[in-house]
Structure formats: C-alpha cells, structure tokens
Amino acid sequence: MDMMDFIADIQWGNALYQLVIFSLLIWVVSRWALKPLLGVMKKREQQVNDNLDNAEKSRAEAEQYLEQQREELKKAREDTQAMIDNANKMSEQQAKEILDNAKAEGERLKEAAAADINREKEQALESVRDQVASLSVAIATKVIEKELDEDEQEKLIDSYLKEVGNE
C-alpha cells in the first residue's frame, strides 16, 4: 500500500508536461536551428577543403611555370651567347677577308703600275727610236750632202745612238 501511495504521490502531470516540453524543444531546435546550421557547417567545411586543394594546385602550377621560365631563360641566354660568338667569328673572318682583298688589290695595283711604267718606257723608247731614225735619215742626207764615206757614216750613227741610249 505504501508503494501505491508513493506512486500516486508522484506529480505525473509535471512529468508528462516536462516530457512534452522537452520533446517539443528537441523538435523545434532540430528543425529550425540545427539542420540549417549543420548544412552551413558542412558547406563551409567543403569550401575550406576546396580552397586548400585549389591553393595546393595553384602552388604546383606556379612552381611548374617558374621552372619552365627558368628553363627558357637559360635557353635564351645560351642562344644569345651562341649568337655573340657567331658574330665575333664572322666579323673576324670579314676583317681578314677585307684585309686580304685590300692586300691583293694593292699588289694588283702595284703590278699594274709597274706594267704601265714599262709600257710607257717602251713607248718612249719606241718614239725615241723613231725620232732617231728620222733624225739619222736627216743627218744622213746632210752628211751625204757633205760626201761622207760609209765608215764615217757608221761611226756617226753609232755615236748618235749611244748618246740617245745614255739619255
């Protein structure tokens, strides 16, 4: 009987009220607060993950790009060096060529000049010889006029020729 009294003494109304209130609270909180909040938290987690992944990817890409640039720079430098070397070689060669040409030209000019001089000399001698011949003819006529013998005429011509050759 005591047990029954005790059970009857319990404020069952309060207990039931509390049960209803608490169940209602769980439902309300879950429906209007936790579900949207969980969604946002999940979304944020996703976003952070994505961002981290993206950052990692960008970093790798940047590194690769940098490596590529470095490679290209190196190549460009090598190319330039090769070009400079080439140009140096070429200019040296050109200089040598020009010099050689000039030397050859000089030689040729010198030879041409010498040939000219010789030719002039020949011509001069030729004309002198012509003149001597005509002179000698003139002298001969004069001498013949003076009745010269052949010996004296020969001597005379020779002496004239010698004089002309020494000139």
Binding site: A15, Q18, F22, S23, V29, A33, L37, Q47
Partner: protein, 216 residues
Amino acid sequence: MSTVAALIVAIFSIVGARKLAMRPTGLQNFIEWVMDFTKYIITSNMAWEKGGRFIALAYTLLFYIFVANMLGIPFELATETDHYALWNSPTSDPVLTLTMAAFVIILTHIYGFKLRGAKEYFADYFRPSPILFPFKIIEEFSNFLTLGLRLFGNIFAKELVTILIISLAGLGTLGALLAWIPLAPWLAFGIFIGALQAFIFAMLSMVYMAHKVESH
C-alpha cells in the same frame, strides 16, 4: 520554470541560426561552438555514422540542462508557507530530472532495437554470459536512477546551501554584512557545478546510447 528554460534554449538556437553566414559572427559562432562540443561528446562514444542522428538530442540535453541549472543562480522565488518555488533551477526537482533520465533511457532502448534488430537487442542481455541477465536488468534501472538523481542531487544541494547562506543575512546586521563572503564563492561553484552536470548528463546519455546502438 522548465518552460522558461526551453524557451531560452529555443530562442538562442533559432536566433543563432537565423542569418546563416559562411563567416559566422556573434551568436552563430556560439551556437556552432556548442554544436562542435556536442559532436565531440558523440564521437568520443560512437562512430559518427551512427551517432550523427543523436546530435539534436545531445545538443538539446546539453544546452537545456545548462540553462536550467543556471536559472537558479541569480535569484530564487518561493512562497513562504508551502515552499512552492516560483523561480529556481527546474533541475532541482526530482520529477523533472527523472523524467529526462527516463526519456533518455527509453530512447536508448528504442534506438538499440531499431538500429540493431530484435535478435541482437535481446541477445545483448545475455552477453557475455547468461548469468549476467539479472544484473543487466538491474543496470537499466540503476542507469535511469543515477542519471536522474545525480543531476537532481547536485542542483538541489546547490540551491539548499544557497538558501542557507542567504538565511544568514536574516540573523542580524553582522550576518547581513558578512553573508556575501561565503555566498560569492558558493555561487561561482554553483555555476561550475551546473556546467559540469549538464556536460555529464549529455555525456552519459551518449554513453548509454552507444552501449545500446553499437555492436560489441
């Protein structure tokens, strides 16, 4: 009083989740922190795949009991003659705490039955040995009683001592002047106990839930 606590929890939660932003500020931060804490309580007892569904239960238990424990801290109102409390911690009422404990224990049975099937559920009473069956039955009742009465005992004792200290002030001028010396640390301790008991209640609820829901 229980209604007031429930309203406070509902308002805080809903206002905190009203303007959801990817960069949380103010109240949303606080609510998210409470949720993370609840998550920690659940995951320290069972796998998240199984425990995730209990987050609403654990969150509400934790938050509601904390608020209920705090309600008695600032002041109390009671009628003089039959000591009917108008304003106190609702958790200092054994009917309320035992109702909550019964609610939780019954839920553990329901979910244990639902998630693991009848065979596994009943087999658990005879594990690891059939001799333990009566103890298992006793365990269920003792779980219910200790869960409810621990909360009740702590908060009731806190309120009782608070009332005793305050009644010192009624002893005369000296008492009124000196009553705050024990009262201040006692109320600080009361806040600590209130927070701790809320955590313990939510933690134990999840421990019992894990026992029923997880296969061993």
